[in-house]
Chain length 189, copies 2
Amino acid sequence: MKKQIGKTNALYPSLTTILGTTINGRPNFITIAHVGIMNHGDPQYLSFGVSKSHFSNQGIIENKVFSVNIPSRDLVVETDYFGIMTGKSTDKSSVLETFCTEGYEAAPMLKRCPVSMICKLARTIDFETHDVFIGEIVATCADEEVLANNKIDISKVNPLLFDMSSIQYWSLGEPVAGAWNAGKVLKKK
Amino acid sequence: MKKQIGKTNALYPSLTTILGTTINGRPNFITIAHVGIMNHGDPQYLSFGVSKSHFSNQGIIENKVFSVNIPSRDLVVETDYFGIMTGKSTDKSSVLETFCTEGYEAAPMLKRCPVSMICKLARTIDFETHDVFIGEIVATCADEEVLANNKIDISKVNPLLFDMSSIQYWSLGEPVAGAWNAGKVLKKK
């Protein structure tokens, strides 16, 4: 039986990321799970919806570059901390060790995160309460431990998946079936 | 040890959805996992990146409305089929039973999907190869079986998570910790 449940956003779970930026010369990090993939190609564009009330927006707009760090399950405490504390009043720069790449010093990355991307700000889409930052990926770096043949093994990344209904982080389960493959059985001969 | 792996998109897994639209009077469905959450609020905006080569774009642009269906794991074969066959040459309207809501007949939904949203087209963001359709949620309906206190229980939805690296659908695992809560232990007293 179908039931109407208002205008509920059911586009969950979404991937939990930590954006790194620099504000007033200091690294700052914020947890963002309202993310998106715009296209598939090169340039590759990703979206990050950040409430205008946050401190990080200023750093992204000024530097036009930011990092996107993918935390593993074992970083759930630090990840959540980056989301509940504001950089306006809390120095989050030394919670986890940082590193950066030459030319992108304003996009500090987190060593403990198994995968990080550096994004150039390509566009900002203005919504009433949110800046949606469209980043173009310029470089990706990963721990060797999560790579197999230079490709990311998502089960080793063990990402945190966010769900707004339960207000919980969830883990990734097991593989179900091959994409662009499982449906072939329905093709008519 | 960190390793550079080019401009790899590491924003996976992403949620697998099936967009429903009407083209030339016939329901059509396409699997889209390049999705995003723009904001948190009302109106609530979601993004869907659809290659301009696809048949569905025409229906979304003409009708300015579409459905977003969330398939469960048990629909992996049908879900993948909607992604590998094109509506240009294949009638996908009778693969699964459809239904619609009054006033939104051009946004056919799939009965077997436990959750469906109807979206009005709010904006289209133009990328070189992709139309990114920004939908505003106007209504959500769900099977009673996946609801608890009128809220969606994501473990009962049992969604399909897409990963481009392994080219596989993955399942959801177990809850890890409470959001806006787990990080409180790091707060200084």
